[in-house]
Symmetry: C2
């Protein structure tokens, strides 16, 4: 086995698989639920600290009933100014957005907003690792695409409505199919950080 | 001037000070507002990408009126599972909680919850920089105290209700008084990362 930190993940996962007490990655879970479960797994195993940010809400009115907890009675959804997920992995800042589509041959660009693209560009400037996780529901395939590949595409194809799957296959990193965690994106992150390319070569 | 990235912050601040168009750090702003303005300054200057996380809210009921935006009509505050602030500075993951007190000689420990302490310990394990910003309102002094100093104190003094100012002065980093940004905590972060100690020696 190659001796890099991701190897720990692989080794621990192997061990856990053998116990056959699979609590994550159940069939039928939504992409977001699978991702949150994967983050919970990474946290519990001491492999990374990645959290989904709470939905930003503008609170207008709150009731404080006696002997009961505060109840928000009027609030509105606000647009997020950042991506949904961030955290730290082996000293590296990770920052990403996760989206899914039922399309089979391309990923709609409307899933990304200008402010998120700007945020990812800011993160890159600060030497953080920014990316998107693109989940093709029907194909049951998930890719990590670095912001450094997404942003130029986004800027150069303003008229275009989607990213072709071929572009994602060429520039992205496909997540291996896996049970625990079911969205093992750190394997791809480790390839990027370690400059590893064996997995990419294997799947392309 | 010492040639480290924080020097850029100092240099730019000097330049901006001379223009006398101070829009941040107004008198009378709350500590949180000053901190958010400082983060906005750091972001605008391309010095760091640090955001406050939204307040976590459990949404129970949402109305979708016709021709109007969705209105949340029942929701509750949830306890945060992480600290309030996180982001990236020159490739380094920063994660912190900011609290204030009107006390003059100590900082109440009840400001910190077990789950936040746990989160900071997890961040340290992933080689992130976790800390707290402690603001003494009456003294008008603010300190950065590393989680690696806070956590042992928290664990060893379970019976004790507060951290003495003397401990914070000894182990922490006092934020310089400043107009723009008014809470220049990155100066302290840079000292920690660069192992610089000249500022600490100057103020102790």
């Amino acid at each position: 086995m190659v001796n890099y930190p991701g190897g720990v993940a692989l080794a621990r996962r192997q061990t856990l698989k053998q116990t056959k007490t699979v609590t994550f990655g159940k069939r039928g879970m939504t992409f977001e639920a699978e991702l949150n479960a994967s983050n919970a797994y990474y946290l519990a195993q001491g492999l990374a600290v990645i959290h989904k940010k709470p939905t930003p809400v503008q609170i207008v009115k709150v009731d404080y009933p006696k002997r009961s907890r505060a109840k928000i009675t009027e609030a509105y959804f606000r647009q997020a100014s950042t991506t949904d997920y961030s955290g730290v992995y082996q000293g590296h800042y990770l920052d990403f957005e996760a989206k899914e589509t039922r399309n089979k041959s391309s990923f709609p660009l409307k899933n990304f907003h200008d402010h998120q693209i700007n945020h990812m560009a800011n993160v890159l400037e600060q030497k953080g690792l920014a990316f998107v996780l693109l989940h093709f529901t029907v194909l049951a395939r998930t890719f990590l695409l670095k912001a450094s590949d997404l942003i130029p595409f986004y800027q150069q194809h303003e008229g275009q409505k989607s990213i072709p799957l071929a572009f994602i296959e060429k520039h992205g990193y496909e997540l291996p199919t896996n049970q625990l965690p079911s969205m093992p994106y750190l394997d791809c992150v480790q390839q990027i950080l370690g400059g590893e390319s064996h997995f990419k070569a294997k799947t392309s």
